[in-house]
Symmetry: C2
Subunit: 212 residues, 2 copies
C-alpha cells in the first residue's frame, strides 16, 4: 500500500485535502473523508477536533501555497522586473498544472469573508510592502508615464495565468481537447504571457520627455 507509510493523521489530511479541493466545504462529508482515508469516522474528530478545524488547516496551507509564490517572487531584490514577471508566470503555471483545483477552491470558499482569510495571512500588508511595488514605481512609472492603472497589468497577468485552469473543464469539453494538450497550451503560455505583458506595457507607456 502506498498510504501505509503515512500516519493516520496524515492520511486524514491528505484525503480531506483532495476532497475539499474537488468539492468544496459543504459538499464534503466527514464520512467521505473517513472512507477515502480508510480510517474510522471518529478519528477525524479525534485528530482535528472538527470538520471546520480540518478545513481551516487545509485552507491555510493552500492560501500559503497560492499567495506565497507572489510574495517570494516579488520580494526578490536581485531580479529585474522582467525576470520577476517570467518567474511569476513560470511558478504559477507549474503549481496549477500540478494542482488545478486550487484557484476555484480558494475563490469559492474565501468569497464570503475575504477579509478574515486575508487578515489571517497578513496579505494586505505583505503585498503592498513588496519590493516589486517600489521597483515597478522606479523602473516603469519613474522613467515613463503609465497611461493606465497599474492594477490592469496585474489583472492581466493573473487572469491569463489562472483563468484557463478555472475554465479548463468547460474549455476542454467545448473545444474537444484532452488534459494533456491543455497542459501543453499552458506550457506554451509560460513564454507567451511575459511577451504579451511586455507589449501591453510598452503600448501603455509614454516617455516623460515626450509629454513635457
Amino acid at each position: 500500500m502506498s498510504s501505509s507509510d503515512l500516519t493516520t493523521e496524515e492520511k486524514i489530511k491528505a484525503a480531506a485535502e483532495s476532497i475539499f479541493l474537488e468539492k468544496g466545504y459543504e459538499a464534503t462529508k466527514t464520512r467521505d473523508i473517513a472512507e477515502a482515508a480508510n480510517i474510522n469516522l471518529a478519528l477525524v474528530n479525534y485528530y482535528f477536533r472538527s470538520k471546520k478545524g480540518l478545513f481551516d488547516i487545509i485552507m491555510m496551507d493552500n492560501l500559503q501555497r497560492f499567495f506565497g509564490i507572489i510574495l517570494n517572487v516579488l520580494n526578490d531584490p536581485n531580479t529585474s522586473i522582467n525576470a520577476k514577471i517570467e518567474a511569476f508566470v513560470d511558478h504559477y503555471i507549474d503549481l496549477l498544472k500540478k494542482d488545478p483545483n486550487i484557484p476555484l477552491f480558494i475563490f469559492s470558499e474565501v468569497r464570503n469573508n475575504p477579509a478574515e482569510f486575508m487578515a489571517k495571512m497578513g496579505m494586505k500588508e505583505k503585498i503592498q510592502q513588496t519590493y516589486f511595488i517600489r521597483q515597478f514605481q522606479e523602473e516603469v512609472i519613474g522613467k515613463n508615464t503609465l497611461e493606465i492603472n497599474p492594477l490592469h497589468i496585474f489583472m492581466n497577468l493573473s487572469s491569463m495565468i489562472v483563468f484557463p485552469f478555472i475554465a479548463s473543464p468547460i474549455m476542454t469539453e467545448v473545444f474537444s481537447i484532452n488534459t494533456v494538450s491543455f497542459n501543453q497550451l499552458m506550457e506554451e503560455r509560460k513564454k507567451l504571457i511575459p511577451q504579451w505583458i511586455k507589449i501591453i506595457l510598452t503600448n501603455s507607456t509614454q516617455k516623460n520627455t515626450e509629454t513635457l
Copy 2:
C-alpha cells in the same frame, strides 16, 4: 412591498437564484430559500418538485445568459472581427457588473460534470459552427500566419474579462478599493481589452508573403 407583485413561484425562483449564486448548491438550504422568499417551506417542493429541479432551472437560465452572449455576438454576419471583439467585451462586462457571481457559480457547479451541462445546451456544436470561426480563419489566418494556437487568443480574451470578477472579493480587499472603483476599472477595460487583443494578434502574426 416590492415582492408582492410577484407570484409565489416567481418569489421562490428569485430567492433561490440569489442564494444559489452566492453560496452554491450544497450550501443553499431549502429553508433559507423559503425564508428569503417569505413563503412556506413546502411550497418549494409544491412548485418545483425538488431542490435539484429548482437548481437545474436556475443553472440552465444562467448558462444561457453566460454563453448566449458568445453565440449571439459571434454569429452576427454583419460585423467585422474587431467589432465582434468589442461587442464581446462590452456585453460581458455589462453582464458581470450586474451579476458578478455568475462565473464562479457556473464554474463551481459545472466542474464535476461539464459534459452533461454543455451537452444539454448543445454548446459544443453551436460554438464550433459559429460564423466567427470561419471569419477568423479567413480574415486573420487566411491572409497571415498566426504563429500561436488561436485558443490562446480566446483564452486571453475571456480571461481578461471574467477573471477579475472572480477574484474581485480578494482583490478589493488586498488593494483596498471598493466595489465602485472596481467597477470603474472594469469599465475602463471595455476599451482596453480590445486594444490589447489587437496588439497581441498583430504581434503573433506574420504576413504570408514574408514567409514565402
